[in-house]
Symmetry: C2
Subunit: 222 residues, 2 copies
């Protein structure tokens, strides 16, 4: 049915693809950025993934996952987010660190362990960063929401998920209480890619646009 055993690197590429655009084409250099490798290396790897039938690449148009690739990617996501739940709820690991640690564990997790873990956790549907956890059968509908960067002055919204992966970014956001479930109001949007001024709880915070991109929100009708 699905795939035997994929290298850690392969899993990271697949996960990156599903994380930064589900179903749309991704330019290879965008992938490279997210994975912290050079575009040349990413191209090389994409070729290898193509040979394995995991992605299809149309030069100058982008890559996307094949059916097989998406299955594998969703499976990685499942493992990762289950570990996130465990690390957060049971081990009480600090929120900003769980992504990093879960990411190491995910590659070392056999199917039997994944399912036992899911059962132990009570089949959670959401991870601590707010993202949905794919089901065993691979069914998975990505969060419907918009990026915080798309809001206008005066908009009110609830934070659905925080998709940052770097520990320091997560820490920065955590310090400002920008966490799943919180509600916020956009006080001001500065021009020229300038920062957003937000009111979260009763705090006023400035947030750069690039960080705001990581925050998925749902507009609250007002």
């Amino acid at each position: 049915m699905t795939v035997r055993h994929l290298s850690e690197s392969t899993e990271m590429y697949l996960k990156a693809m599903v994380e930064l655009s589900d179903h749309e084409m991704v330019m290879v250099p965008r992938l490279a950025e997210r994975l912290g490798v050079t575009p040349v290396s990413a191209n090389e790897m994409v070729r290898r993934l193509g040979e394995q039938g995991l992605v299809s690449h149309t030069p100058y148009k982008g890559v996307n996952l094949t059916k097989k690739g998406r299955e594998a990617a969703v499976n990685v996501l499942r493992r990762q987010r289950l570990w996130e739940v465990f690390l957060h709820d049971h081990l009480k690991i600090e929120w900003s660190h769980i992504y990093e640690y879960a990411c190491s564990l995910e590659h070392a997790t056999a199917p039997e362990v994944t399912e036992a873990l899911a059962a132990f956790l009570g089949d959670p549907k959401t991870c601590p960063r707010g993202n949905p956890i794919p089901a065993t059968d691979g069914s998975f509908k990505p969060l419907e929401g918009i990026s915080l960067g798309e809001l206008k002055t005066g908009d009110k919204a609830r934070i659905l998920a925080v998709n940052a992966t770097a520990t320091d970014v997560l820490q920065y956001l955590q310090e400002r209480d920008i966490l799943p479930g919180r509600e916020l109001r956009v006080v001001e949007v500065a021009p020229l890619q300038g920062p957003l001024t937000l009111e979260v709880g009763s705090r006023i915070t400035a947030l750069g646009l690039s960080m705001a991109e990581f925050v998925i929100v749902k507009l609250i009708k007002s």
Copy 2:
């Protein structure tokens, strides 16, 4: 103080060394056997470990761990055995599989996660295979017991630990109820490296010598 980050392969070598002889010299080909690599590869790797100050190798005499190497090795053991406890007690993974799964996880476990896991598990002292779990500070006294292979006809003993690592061997032993805590009696020791005949519970079982080597027991005075 201790070491930054060791590769998975490095950790496996260190663990193998502490597992198959604590404090005694090990011949490199013995290491190679346990790790499933050729003696040539093991020699190469031992050289690299030597350069990192983790082992010291005296040609034709054997290798042993340096202080630094032993610290690292004991740390790996700690992580591994903690995961074994989690997999067995909480995830209810089958006994014969926990070594294999724990072994993957151990290499992906940061210190913060290790300690949080230990706390979550209630600082267990023993893993499901019967081995002691090293403490955070690295203190660790190996089990004192003898190998089942050293027993004589008529001896009675209690099984302290089962040190096999291969899943199929563990399964074989599990099927014959050769598990930590069980008591047994040696019915017969066949000559010429022949099998032992054992009475475990009320069952009579024949066990080859090489498998018996994996079983650590304590003689019961009679």
